[in-house]
Symmetry: C2
Subunit: 489 residues, 2 copies
């Protein structure tokens, strides 16, 4: 007889019932070929004695295996492994009868995609995390969200909404978003121009995925938002980089590229450019719109930080000017709420949005109905506008504070221009301070930079990094700047 006592391992502390553990072990022994089809098993009484368990436990295990066709009862003869099972070549016994199902790496072919290294940073109470421009979660209107969640739970509409197919956002949120965008951004859209997504990132992915084919050429800025770069690359596109100066993307270079190459897409962040925070000048904006119309050039306009503009009114997006339905406009509520509330949007011509909604469904079948409905109420009640106003005041102050501190204490190492808006500064370190070293030293001093535009690609040569001031209290900012000073002086 097989050494069942050894082969069948039972963990009394497990949350799995013992009879299930026994049945599972027997299945593994059968599928591994250790017990062949037709082999008789010990009777329930014998097995109970072997394993030192109650007989009823073994009866339950065997019954389970019988209903699943693993074993069969021959009346007055015994219980055997089903002879209908195919014969299996026995393989070596495995430790404890358990398969190490994923112990070896995958050997089939799959893509390799660059990404950040997971950082083993020991977070302490004194650690400071500087991101690349997140809102302050302490300001987030979580309370209002929870209040709306509770109301929704008590009503009956949520259940119906969750039963219906999702066409890229609930109707209520689509209506609220259309009003919000038309009012704040001078757009002139209706719900058929709008798709609700999981943050701006998914909107970029969907817009590009609808347009790009392998071998296509995409214009991006230099430097550009590195995760968008990687999206286009993964779709097989070739990136053509256009320099960015203090007036934004160089439009003459865009025109040169259009003249010499078939361009399938332009990705641009005209307002608070990522990472450099530059806002494009009106002159270039007008020239670009001319190019868009005359070349009928599809454009993704990423306007992730529109709502936080301090020095004057924000600059209206390209999407609100005449672009002949070529500009796809992307933004997000995430920066207005909290990093976990990932609701973004993609705006475009209706025929495009219908198809993008179908693509979205293949990736993400439904949105978060509850969050979408709650956000809709918060927009419609004017609460979002009040929240933006309040946050803008705080962030404006923090922008001033950070700019003053850095100008005062880090001028020897860092160049930067105070931005007109947004949630981050773009710090260009002088060549004598290679960014990799600065970041590594900062880490050992308890300062972690998570907004890594530096870990790869074209931004590296700029030796620049985003310093997200918006989520830092003044004392945290002070400590972060102190650490940077200490390691650069």
């Amino acid at each position: 007889m097989l050494p069942f006592k050894t082969l069948i391992t039972i963990d009394e502390s497990s949350t799995i019932a013992v009879y299930r553990q026994i049945a599972d072990c027997l299945i593994v022994l059968i599928t591994d070929g250790v017990i062949q089809p037709g082999t008789f098993l010990p009777s329930t009484r014998e097995m109970a004695a072997l394993l030192d368990k109650h007989r009823n436990t073994i009866v339950a295990a065997y019954e389970d295996l019988i209903t699943q066709d693993w074993i069969e009862t021959l009346p007055r003869v015994g219980i055997r492994v089903s002879i209908h099972l195919p014969l299996i070549k026995p393989r070596s016994f495995q430790e404890g009868g358990k398969n190490q199902t994923y112990s070896s790496p995958a050997k089939f072919n799959f893509k390799h995609i660059p990404g950040p290294e997971e950082q083993n940073f020991q977070l302490k109470r004194t650690s400071i995390i500087v991101n690349d421009g997140f809102p302050d979660a302490d300001l987030a209107p979580f309370d209002s969200m929870l209040r709306e969640y509770r109301k929704l739970m008590q009503g009956s509409s949520l259940k119906v909404l969750m039963s219906l197919k999702d066409f890229g956002g609930t109707k209520a949120l689509k209506n609220s978003t259309v009003n919000f965008l038309n009012d704040s951004r001078g757009l002139n859209i209706s719900t058929e121009n709008l798709l609700i997504t999981r943050g701006a990132q998914m909107a970029i992915y969907l817009a590009a995925g609808m347009i790009l084919k392998p071998g296509d050429h995409v214009l991006v800025s230099d430097p550009s938002y590195y995760i968008a770069d990687e999206v286009f690359r993964q779709m097989g596109a070739n990136l053509i980089r256009i320099p960015v100066d203090e007036h934004g993307m160089d439009i003459e270079e865009v025109e040169n590229a259009l003249k010499s190459t078939k361009i399938s897409l332009l990705y641009i962040i005209p307002h608070h450019h990522h990472p450099t925070t530059v806002t494009m000048s009106q002159q270039r904006r007008i020239l670009l719109l001319e190019l868009i119309r005359s070349y009928q050039l599809p454009v993704i306009e990423d306007d992730y930080d529109y709502d936080f503009h301090y020095s004057n009114s924000p600059v209206l997006p390209l999407a609100s000017s005449a672009h002949d339905s070529n500009v796809l406009y992307i933004g997000s509520f995430t920066k207005l709420l909290a990093p976990s509330c990932r609701i973004g949007y993609l705006i475009g011509p209706a025929n495009f949005i219908t198809q993008a909604t179908n693509l979205k469904r293949l990736i993400d079948l439904r949105g978060d109905t509850m969050m979408e409905e709650a956000l809709s109420v918060i927009i419609d009640s004017g609460e979002l506008d009040r929240h933006i106003k309040k946050s803008k005041k705080v962030y404006n102050e923090r922008c001033d504070q950070a700019s003053l501190m850095i100008a005062d204490r880090l001028a020897h190492a860092v160049d930067f221009t105070k931005p007109q808006g947004g949630l981050a500064l773009w710090l260009k370190f002088k060549a004598t301070y290679p960014l990799g070293e600065v970041i590594a030293k900062a880490r050992t001093s308890g300062l972690l930079f998570t907004g890594a535009t530096y870990y790869e690609g074209a931004a590296q040569k700029h030796n620049g990094m985003r310093f997200g001031f918006a989520s830092l209290k003044e004392s945290e900012m002070q400590r972060a700047v102190d650490i940077l000073r200490k390691i650069t002086i």
Copy 2:
């Protein structure tokens, strides 16, 4: 002088400040070439009179335009449109000076992707919606989620978590999920084998996206989950359909396909197959595992409904047997919670999961940290297990009720086999009842089927439809069956 009174339209009821409306209209007039660079504008006093507004309003509008470089002041001369702006060919005046920015369809090339038609179904209080197998939102543990949300908001850890990079799920949820899956499914995985996604749909998209190239061949069942079919098609793959009978996918046909064609991926739903609800026999399971090992065949095992099994213990997944790191295992908490809580997972070898996590980041930068942390607590406290037990009892009863009613009242029109588990029945209508007609007639009687496996593709020939019983109270079920009887008798 231009007819500013006509060109500048002001909406007093708008939430946009009047000065902003005036500034925005002027920008449009400039970018549209109606007002050319160098043109002098009326003085603030004149403009105030023209538009019948207070002079301070015009001053504010002009100041806004000056800081944005649209116009410039020549001391003692006047205010003109900046001569640094490029000359623009005037285009025809647009109604009210507003651009219909998205009034024309997109003319650039983009993909066309099949999807459902948005249905203009007039929901009434008496309407019944039958989905393709959703959980009942009335049972969802929303209260517990809100309780945990509130606790998280009061703590300090959430802010830190939201500041860190997301590596496919919070650490807490990864740990909880690993324990939950190892306990319930006989897996033997650690967190490096796990990626948290937005529902099972995103897991399918990511797994397939990592593996498939245009022209690849994928084995799917006939019929299969139609949205997965579409995912593979969008990636340029060719589908080879393998018949499904009452024992599951025909493994001999799988072997034939493997012998004759280079197969890049097998997509299979061995447990409560979608749409047919069949569970694969042990014999086929063992044969399939043999094929997987000998051909080193990458497999996506979709186990979306594992936790609801009524007749005996659920059948362990392929992923828990010896598959030589070839099986990617997919599931979701959505069916355990509510349709809006879209948290799913992809399980695979560690080297594959690292790369899939990088791909996920390109599509969906971060998960919902708050929901992930709350779910983790609910798993760890045993509350999820209790919730599953409770729901399973309800759904088991509803499965019995629905099966009895349909056998009793619809036998003339419908064939079906009561499933061993899951949240839906697979109703095969006899040929004399074409499904399209049945569904259309049902709609006019107030019965809406949203689980449309029928609207396209290979499933159509099966004339079958999923009947999601789990979210229906007995009286609703009764009414749904009555309507189906009335339109088929």
